[in-house]
């Protein structure tokens, strides 16, 4: 099968990128294979597990359900970029301190999803935290420690403000 290609221009973690991509390549393969951003993971390529969650234009998307060409002109943020901004440094520290991850494969997607919750700057119950990450599959932790880490982060932020 000969590959149909297309040129795309987009911002990834603040860098302007121009690339010719195969039109059938999804966003996470593009990020991982073309840009070396291996922090976004593929768990199911079906939009279920959430391991590939990245931000496009400020919204969390399943990177496996979006084609790279669909991100043309967009602003993409991955775990690498979000880490560099320091926006969720407290959440990341609380994940480590509370051991809210084991194998870590779901963690980047989990954090991208949780960053959205933290931006609301609202007190969230444990049920609400659980609901917010109910599209992110974690086989290791059983979720309890993740909820703890998020709860601590939110209460610290609200306590500080």
């Amino acid at each position: 099968m000969s590959e149909e290609t297309s040129e795309i221009k987009l911002t990834v973690n603040g860098d302007l990128i121009t690339k010719i991509v195969n039109v059938r390549q999804h966003l996470v393969d593009f990020l991982r294979l073309e840009l070396g951003l291996t922090g976004s993971h593929l768990g199911c390529e079906h939009g279920i597990c959430g391991a590939c969650s990245v931000w496009v234009d400020g919204l969390v998307v399943r990177g496996c359900l979006m084609l790279a060409v669909q991100a043309d002109g967009g602003d993409v943020t991955t775990i690498e970029g979000l880490t560099e901004t320091g926006e969720i440094a407290d959440l990341q520290k609380n994940f480590v301190d509370r051991n809210a991850l084991q194998c870590g494969f779901c963690t980047p997607g989990m954090l991208m999803t949780l960053a959205e919750l933290l931006r609301k700057s609202e007190l969230s119950s444990r049920e609400e935290i659980r609901e917010h990450i109910s599209g992110n599959y974690c086989r290791c932790t059983g979720y309890h420690a993740i909820v703890d880490a998020v709860e601590t982060t939110i209460s610290d932020r609200l306590g500080d403000s």
Binding site: M1, S2, N22, R24, Q25, R32, L37, T38, G39, S40, H41, L42, G43, C44, E45, H46, G47, I48, C49, A51, T78, I79, E80, T83, Q92, F95, V96, D97, R98, N99, L101, Q102, C103, G104, F105, C106, T107, P108, L111, R126, I129, R130, E131, I133, S134, G135, N136, Y137, C138, R139, C140, T141, G142, Y143, H144, A145, I146, V147
Partner: protein
């Protein structure tokens, strides 16, 4: 921590890291998206493998045409099963001599002439990208003749059932009977006899990172490097080297970050061997990453069992006899080299394991089906054995009019009666059922919870309380099944520990980390013994070129076996450091200690010399030492169990659920675990093993099942169709530890990784049935889907 049976050791000192929760270095990388998993590694000239797999559960392969596939762009190699066979030293036969009478047919990494399960690899396509390999794979044409399918374990041994491997004579893999005490007499002595049949669905591990392998063969010197998501690097080294005829010592296995494993990744898979063979043939790196459909179709499966059970009790609730009959489903072959009969064997070993009864009869038949092979998955056999045993105890309690907690109180083994042998013939020691039970009652506030349950019942809300005691086999010894049975799997494990010239310590271990925190635990042990800060100890694991030979991580063995090796190696290194210090300081080593990176006087804690100075002198200025003292500052220690089959642990779980009797939905309200893994090195890591394990068990109990139709076609090969536990439905899980150190090691640690999984299905089934009790309904099938619950109520 210490109790009356263990003297205080170096680990109990105030500055010890033992019993403290340190954060994991790997976690810091993972949260920044800097984890390095197998698929994140790329090598120059790397190629990618994709597979053409059998669409049928059983079919003769009449013709394989790969000519057109070979002509496709970017394709480097197309290999059939027959071509791969020529590169193999011989077939695998998945038997162990430790399982007397078991049989299995020879198998090659890819099917030759016949496919015996849907998903069995038949042709490998290697191309410059996975996409190109998949494109080309579409041009492979295979002509099949469908053969009769054996899909149902219940009829697999019937005379009219087709035989999958005619040379075996029937579809039986293994039969075993345990008959201890006198069950007939026990039944005669019983006032009440209960019998029930239970069904358990087929599960798979569903690690988020799928199976992954990158093979890199160097043709000039014959060295083979394999990066792979594996728990057992040395076993992979041995099996791959022997299968492909490469010298074992020239094979290096690197297990980078592992994205979940759960037993799935202690096995060998044909497509991974094929990928490695491609690298050897081409002299180029070849990568294979299973996609999710391939994972569901070809990862090992587990748990598919039907168990009949019968319990006899006196009217006072004393268990007089217990019997089980287990029909266990394997796949088309017994998994090589760990076999497919462990699950059944463990069910026999542990059912009714917490209790004092003497009369026990257990029988199993493991049968072959035209499905993907089954094998060890987290808590092998325990979810089934515990579910059956604990359900029968609950039913007996109800028949006697005794509260389920009280029923267990009357029957569990007494804490002061060890060592002893269970009715199944298992040697048990250092256990604490009574302490665990009373702790659970307290933490659950059991009496008040019963009151609350009654209040809700009066309002028409059906809540249930479940209790399930358990034993768990951890850390197998060499007297057990693998090495004794002929498999290249070590039950010993080792630590090599070195003092570097800088004063830093390198600790290399044969056990491996998949995010549980094995490396952190070893760091805590070594730093505590050596009187160093944790930052001064670096742990290396998962690289056969670096670490001493070991079994890797399986069966909750890492801390129990690898931890003791690290402890003893650290003690020996400490002894040498103090000996050198004594020579330099003209002091008796026994008068010296190491505290906070310095050798000090034991008497007054005065600093005498730093550990880094010992490292420097020991490597660069050896002339300061007499000629008869040659520092090695490097120790390897190997540890194994002696006579014990396993280090058994024990514990008890409690669950509180609400069942909607109109919809059959089960809501999890609360969950408690009290378990005894001996000495706890890191409380937080131990707790999280239990929590994650519980949720994995809950998944199996409520949601998960690989559904096959009559043609043995998998019906739910995506994460959209195979339901796993997600955050929204899971409860918080309260974890408590009773610490009875094992007497087989000085460290005193037992395994903890599977205790949650082993008993969570049992406690949930008991809780659900407690909720259904007013309706005279009883669920005996897992997963307990809403439909199953409604069927038990007779409403569907």
């Amino acid at each position: 921590m210490a109790n009356k049976t263990t003297p205080l050791t170096i680990l109990d000192r105030p500055n010890s890291y033992i019993g403290r929760s340190l954060s994991r270095e790997g976690a810091k990388r993972a949260v920044a998206g800097r984890g390095r998993y197998t698929d994140d590694i790329s090598l120059p000239r790397m190629l990618h493998a994709a597979f053409v797999r059998s669409p049928y559960a059983h079919a003769k392969i009449l013709a394989v045409n790969v000519d057109e596939a070979r002509q496709q762009p970017e394709v480097t190699l197309v290999m059939t099963g027959t071509e791969l066979q020529e590169l193999c030293t011989g077939p695998w036969i998945g038997t162990l001599s430790s399982f007397e009478g078991m049989k299995s047919a020879p198998q090659y990494p890819m099917a030759i002439g016949r496919a015996c399960w849907q998903g069995e690899p038949i042709v490998m396509v290697v191309a410059s990208s996975r996409a190109a390999a998949e494109d080309a794979a579409e041009f492979v044409t295979i002509e099949y003749e469908q053969l009769p399918v054996v899909a149902d374990k219940e009829t697999a041994l019937d005379p009219e059932c087709p035989i999958i491997h005619p040379e075996l004579g029937d579809n039986l893999a293994f039969r075993k009977v345990i008959d201890n005490g006198d069950v007939k007499q026990g039944l005669a002595d019983a006032d009440i006899v209960i019998e029930e049949t239970f069904q358990f669905g087929r599960h798979t591990a569903v690690s988020l990172e799928t199976r992954a392998l990158l093979a890199d063969y160097e043709p000039t010197d014959g060295h083979l490097t394999i990066y792979t998501s594996s728990q057992v690097p040395h076993m992979i080294q041995a099996v791959f080297a022997r299968t492909l005829g490469v010298a074992e010592h020239k094979v290096r296995i690197i297990a980078p970050d592992i994205g979940g494993s759960f037993g799935l990744k202690i096995h060998t898979y044909g497509d991974e061997v094929a990928t490695t063979a491609a690298s050897i043939k081409l002299g180029r790196p070849v990568k294979f990453i299973a996609d999710r459909l391939e994972s569901f179709l070809t990862d090992i499966h587990a748990r598919e069992n039907r168990v009949w059970g019968r319990i006899g009790v006196s009217k006072e609730g004393e268990i007089k006899s217990l019997e089980i009959d287990v029909r266990s489903a394997a796949g088309a072959y017994s998994q090589f080299p760990r076999t497919s009969v462990f699950e059944a064997n463990q069910i026999l070993n542990i059912t009714g394991g917490p209790y004092k009864h003497k009369n026990y009869k257990a029988k199993t038949e493991v049968v072959y089906l035209n499905k993907v092979p089954t094998s060890q998955y987290r808590a092998v056999g325990h979810p089934i054995g515990n579910s059956v045993g604990e359900a029968l105890v609950d039913q007996a309690a109800e028949a006697c009019g005794i509260d389920p907690l009280e029923m267990r109180r009357r029957n569990i083994m007494e804490d002061d009666q060890y060592p002893r042998v269970s009715a199944a013939g298992i040697k048990l020691q250092d256990m604490s059922h009574q302490q665990c039970l009373e702790a659970l009652a307290k933490h659950m506030d059991y009496e008040n919870l019963r009151v609350e349950q009654d209040k809700f019942r009066k309002k028409g809300i059906q809540r249930g309380i479940g209790i399930a005691a358990f034993i768990k086999g951890t850390a197998p010894g060499p007297a057990g099944y693998y090495g004794t049975g002929g498999a290249p799997i070590a039950s010993q494990d080792a630590c090599t520990i070195k003092l570097e010239p800088s004063g830093g310590v390198i600790c290399m271990i044969g056990v491996t980390d998949q995010g549980q925190g094995v490396d952190t635990v070893m760091c805590q042990i070594a730093a505590s013994v050596l009187g160093l800060r944790a930052e001064s100890v670096r742990v290396i694991e998962g690289d056969t070129d670096a670490v001493p030979y070991g079994g890797g991580t399986y069966a909750s063995r890492a801390t129990a076996i690898g931890g003791e090796a690290t402890y003893q190696a650290s003690l020996l290194l400490r002894k040498e450091i103090l000996s050198i210090a004594g020579t330099l300081l003209q002091a008796e080593p026994i008068t010296l200690d190491i505290v906070d990176e310095n050798v000090v006087n034991k008497s007054d804690n005065q600093i005498r010399i730093s550990v880094s100075e010992i490292g420097r002198i020991g490597h660069f200025q050896v002339a300061e030492l007499p000629n008869n003292i040659q520092p090695t500052l490097s120790v390897t220690y190997r540890y194994r169990l002696h006579d014990a089959l396993y280090i058994f642990t024990n514990g008890i779980q409690g669950a509180y659920v609400e069942v909607d009797i109109d919809t059959g939905f089960i809501k999890l309200l609360n969950h408690w675990v009290v378990e005894d893994c001996g000495r706890v090195i890191s409380p937080q890591l131990a707790d999280e093993q239990v929590r994650g394990g519980c949720v994995q068990g809950i998944g199996g109990a409520l949601y998960e099942e690989c559904v096959y139709n009559e043609a043995a076609q998998l019906q739910n090969g995506t994460l959209a169709d195979y339901l796993t536990p997600m955050a929204g439905e899971m409860p918080d899980i309260n974890v408590y530890h009773i610490q009875t150190p094992t007497s087989v090691s000085e460290l005193g640690a037992k395994g903890v990784g599977e205790s949650g999984t082993g008993a969570a299905p049992a406690v949930l089934m008991n809780a659900v049935n407690d909720a259904l009790r007013p309706f005279d309904a009883c669920v005996t099938k897992q997963p307990m889907t809403p439909e199953t619950v409604l069927a038990s109520l007779g409403t569907v």
